[in-house]
Amino acid sequence: MELSTHKNDQPIIGTDEKVVSPWLEAWISFKKNKLAVIGAFIVIFFILVAIFAPLIAPYTFKEQMLSNRLLPPSSDHWFGTDDFGRDIFSRVVYGARISLWVGFLAVLGSIVVGCLLGILAGYYGKWVDTIISRTFDIMLAFPSILLAIAIVAVLGPSLRNALIAIAIINIPNFGRLIRSRVLTVKQEEYIMAAKAVGMKNSRILFHHVLPNSMAPIIVQGTLAIATAIIEAAALGFLGLGAEAPNPEWGKMLADARTFLIQAPWTMIFPGLAIMLTVLGFNLMGDGLRDALDPRMKN
């Protein structure tokens, strides 16, 4: 085989001046997805409502006016009032704080713990993997809400314990996800290259393996917030979540159950709020999946 001796004369390909990072690329493709953008808007809307609740709500969430019990929606009380004469609109607005808080915090907790365990299991393998993975299997063998109920029952019913329970039951989902990502990324040649350069395991894990495993975590995280909100509402509905005056949406539903025929607005609006928030997170999560999943590209 004859080899020509040209040197350094190859055209420099890709001289377009705009440098596109992988994250920016994902954002561009996310923006094109209409449903995802709608989802993002819903999520942002509820986040703003939660932040500015005191400004938006005309009444406080515990202000009782017993003379105004079970009033239908009107210009004074947009969503009507409940059986204690509390303004439902104000309660739904304040409820956004609780639900989003629980959703974000619980998912953040399970991501942190899940990622740590998943990385250990995936990168070190062997008995570390066996112990962690089998524990995940055991946790996943229970229906998640049942496990959450059991955990709250042990810890005692309160909003904080409901949050902890939701965080715990979501750990195996993230742990497994990150473990499988780590197993894939570990085989990549750039990890071999990182080792050949002389990097420590910890540096390889946090600078190379983790960033390349982040995309599915973000997607799963967004979808998990939706589930966590439903789970928090379910625990609240069962009386295992938020305590009495707190306007937790699930608890509002439970309290309103008795008046379903008489005063349907007491259920409709908290229910609608749950539905919309969850829908928003789900749409956004699906959009993120399309934008971040390399298999969907090209």
């Binding site: 020509s4 040197k7 440098v19 750039y190 071999m192 990182a194 050949a196 350069v197 002389g198 420590k200």
Partner: protein, 321 residues
């Protein structure tokens, strides 16, 4: 010999085959089976062989990306296989690797600058400013430009990526570079550019190469000495010209004969290989090549041939000599 940079003695790498209910070891794949050679300072040693002959595994065992089953690797009077993990990590400053697939060996989420800076950070070389300057310098050394530093790997062509891979290997100023099929994933037109770059760098930086490839043409172009591997064993090793002019081992002859001649009128008595590569988990007794060898004798089926110096500086493992 004082000018030997790397000496490999009886290197073995067996991969266990597990099977059965409890995953017990039922056999071994002998990827590298008793290989010995040395590399002199400043030379290029080519390692050639078919797919699965263990040449890449040899490279990785030398770097201790895979742990050797047996044998010694001595780099500048320092035995590598017995070093602890941390000492070996520091040793990698001196021995670097260029990988086969330029698309897979660069982290897609890092900019070129970060990729090149990282070896310096890891080995604690220079301060921030100095590192940035070294990155720009190195980009120019490998024929790229400073404005490429902020780009991501996917914005480059295969040849350019391989230049980045080479630049990364050079960042810590290593003495030895193990190039694992560095051009086999590239277009032929780009291959020659990258090979020339490697040769220029060798002159400029006084590098020593172990060049792993399956393409004899490429190896001839770049190597001072060439080792031929078959089924995890080294069958012949000598200077490049000697190997190409007068191959001793029947396997080397067959390999050289298998190079296509770009002239349809040339008729040549070719010694082509027939049959398949035997399984490395169950290599043939005696000489590993006897199942496909033209000159197979009875002794070949029973006794494994030792490496012999048939002519000065020309070693072959064959019972014919």
């Amino acid at each position: 010999m004082t000018d030997v940079l790397l000496k490999v003695d009886n290197l073995k790498k067996y991969f266990p085959i597990t099977g059965g209910l409890f995953g017990k070891t039922v056999g071994h794949v002998k990827a590298v089976d008793d290989v010995s050679f040395y590399v002199r300072k400043g030379e290029t040693l080519g390692l050639v062989g078919e797919s699965g002959c263990g040449k890449s595994t040899t490279g990785r065992v030398l770097m201790r990306l895979l742990e050797a089953t047996e044998g010694k690797v001595v780099f500048e009077d320092q035995e590598l296989t017995s070093l602890n993990a941390n000492a070996m990590r520091k040793m990698r400053k001196e021995i670097q690797m260029v990988f086969q697939d330029p698309f897979a060996s660069l982290n897609p989420r890092h900019t070129v600058e970060k990729i090149l800076e990282e070896p310096l950070i890891v080995h604690g070389i220079g301060d921030k400013e100095e590192r940035k300057r070294r990155v720009i310098e190195m980009l120019e050394v490998v024929g790229l430009s400073s404005y490429h530093a902020k780009r991501y790997p996917h914005q480059f062509s295969g040849g350019q990526r391989q230049r980045i891979g080479i630049a990364r290997a050079l960042m810590t100023k290593p003495k030895l570079i193990i190039a694992d099929e560095p051009v086999s994933a590239l277009d032929v037109s780009i291959q020659s550019q990258v090979l020339n770059l490697l040769e220029d760098l060798q002159k400029d930086f006084g590098l020593t190469y172990i060049f792993i490839a399956h393409d004899l043409g490429v190896v001839k172009h770049i190597s001072d000495r060439v080792g031929v591997m078959y089924l995890g064993r080294l069958v012949e090793i000598t200077e490049s010209e000697k190997l190409y002019d007068k191959p001793l081992h029947p396997y080397t002859r067959a390999l050289l004969d298998s190079i296509p001649i770009p002239d349809p009128d040339v008729k040549k008595d070719r010694e082509l290989l027939s049959g398949d590569l035997p399984s490395p988990s169950n290599p043939p007794l005696g000489c590993a090549f006897h199942t496909r060898c033209r000159d197979c004798m009875d002794v070949c089926k029973t006794t494994r041939p030792e490496m012999k110096e048939v002519e000065p500086g020309h070693f072959a493992a064959c019972h014919l000599y």
